[in-house]
């Protein structure tokens, strides 16, 4: 049963997942190409100075990448379910409706975590190649909310897409957009450290929001 749901989600998302992951890796690669370029032409110590004291955020090219990936995966996963009200097929399966939805959600979370882990590992390794541990640590603290934003965008996009009535969909979209902005406050590298756990908590809070849209659908709001 779980295998079947994972199989369906995999069929929907595999190519987009691959494309989005490659684009993410290319974006990370591009960040360090620029770093390499700057260091080659302006000396490493000058660049370190800018990064350490002038808030030069070499990683800012990563800012919206996790968001785009989270958004993309959610769209690819849930638009086919709501097209022609296909989600009815899931509700007719001989499995508890919420369990089926949570399995779909869990699939999305797992593939996003894998994709993000790949990007973070590549980002960390390349950062360590060019910078000292303190700079890398500050950069990781700074990029962490962006990955949380990607995860929150995944959950909230699922909520918006699975809602069948347009006026609610628009209201959810506006609320979700405002919510996502929390994750993109500007600050010095590492300035987010005290906030990150709160943002993680917020992300967790919206994680099951899609089940509300699905519940409304099941009760005839379609």
């Amino acid at each position: 049963m779980i295998k079947s749901i994972v199989y369906k989600e995999w069929i929907k998302t595999r190519w987009f997942l691959l494309i989005l992951t490659i684009l993410g890796l290319l974006a990370v690669g591009n960040i360090f190409l620029k770093v390499q370029h700057y260091i080659t032409f302006n000396e490493a110590h000058n660049y370190w100075y800018l990064v350490l004291f002038q808030n030069q955020q070499y990683f800012k090219g990563l800012r919206f990448i996790p968001l785009v990936i989270g958004l993309g995966i959610a769209l690819v996963q849930y638009i086919p379910e709501i097209t022609n009200k296909r989600i009815k097929l899931t509700f007719h399966l001989p499995v508890n409706e919420n369990r089926a939805l949570l399995m779909m959600l869990a699939y999305g979370v797992v593939v996003l975590l894998l994709c993000y882990a790949l990007l973070i590992i590549m980002f960390t390794l390349l950062s360590q190649h060019f910078f000292g541990a303190e700079i890398v640590r500050a950069a990781l603290i700074s990029v962490f909310p962006w990955f949380l934003a990607g995860m929150a965008a995944y959950f909230l996009t699922a909520l918006v897409v699975m809602e069948a009535i347009w006026k609610y969909r628009i209201a959810y979209f506006l609320a979700a957009s405002a919510f996502i902005l929390f994750f993109f406050e500007r600050g010095m590298a590492g300035a987010y450290a005290p906030l990150n756990w709160k943002l993680a908590l917020l992300t967790l809070l919206v994680s099951l929001s899609m089940t509300f849209s699905a519940y409304r659908f099941r009760k005839g709001e379609m």
Binding site: S4, Y7, K12, K88, L89, V95, F217, G220
Partner: protein, 295 residues
């Protein structure tokens, strides 16, 4: 004989608009019931309640004794649902979709599915989204048959199908249902399709049930008579035995459950002049229109 579906005292409104009040009907085990009604008569509402996607304002529908709003996975595994438009996972091909569904049903029987698929001229890797409406209907039907359900709920199964596919769908379905003692609840906009398929008919009109009986009983009991009236000022429509009456000048089409002798006797006894009286043979579609009216 047990009832597989029992709907009791269903009342539903959309806003203030009444769909129906105190609707009651049952579907017997092993029977094929066709729900007929004009647009807006409440067919989709009934289907949505049966699917568990709509909570009626009052009353309840039970399938195998369970409220349709709260069907257990065990009961759902006994039901094959066909969604209007033969909706399926169009992003899959016929192998992928069979593999997907087979994981959910312990009695999965791939034979009828592949038998139907062999009749389709589709590439094995062709996505369902690129198939014709008729081919998609066969995929949806094959998947339902492979589930080995005890009850099939088919919503507007003939929608978008050409006559050949409709006939294939109906003949296959009826022979399957009868050989395996399956119960079917079906709706269709194409009434003549139902005639070949169903055992029992349920005809709904706005807010009420017009007929609910075995199809043979309905077709023999409900009659159409045509005649020319000698006096056009006579108003037969208000007579109790007249179910519906269509009149163009002197030409009358009268629909009733009474016999030819009764109607003739009434006309003679009331001194209403008429000529060219004849009983008109009807198909289900004629009877449906006769019962519900053309408008």
């Amino acid at each position: 004989m047990n009832n597989v579906i029992e709907c009791k005292n269903l009342t539903h409104y959309y806003g203030k608009k009444l769909v129906y009040e105190n609707l009651n009907f049952n579907v017997r085990e092993g029977s094929i019931l066709g729900l007929l009604g004009k647009n807006g008569a409440g067919k989709t509402t009934t289907i949505n309640i049966l699917h568990g996607f709509l909570q009626p304002r009052e009353g309840e529908c039970l399938i195998y004794g369970e409220n349709t709003q709260e069907l257990s996975p065990q009961t759902k595994s006994r039901i094959g649902f066909l969604i209007e438009g033969h909706v399926q996972y169009a992003f899959m091909d016929i192998h992928q979709i069979e593999k997907f569904y087979s994981g959910f049903y312990p009695n999965w029987n791939r034979e009828p599915y592949w038998e139907l698929m062999s009749k389709l001229k589709v590439d094995p890797n062709q996505k369902i989204s690129s198939m014709s409406c008729g081919q998609r209907s066969q995929v949806a039907l094959g998947l339902i048959l492979a589930q080995e359900p005890d009850l099939l709920i088919l919503d507007d199964f003939s929608m978008g199908l050409d006559p050949g596919y409709r006939r294939l769908f109906i003949d296959y379905l009826r022979s399957y249902a009868k050989s395996e003692n399956k119960t079917i609840f079906a709706t269709s906009h194409i009434v003549q399709d139902m005639e070949r398929l169903i055992d029992d008919v349920l005809i709904m009109d706005y807010n009420r049930v017009l007929a609910h009986s075995p199809i043979d009983k309905f077709m023999t009991g409900f009659k159409q008579f045509s005649f020319k009236l000698g006096d056009t000022s006579v108003d037969l429509a208000k007579e109790e035995f007249v179910v519906n009456l269509e009149r163009v000048n002197k030409d009358v089409e009268l629909y009733t459950y009474e016999s030819e002798e009764f109607v003739k006797g009434f006309l003679d006894k009331s001194g209403i002049p008429y000529e060219n009286f004849s009983a008109v043979p009807m198909g289900l579609e004629d009877a449906f229109i006769g019962l519900t009216g053309k408008y």
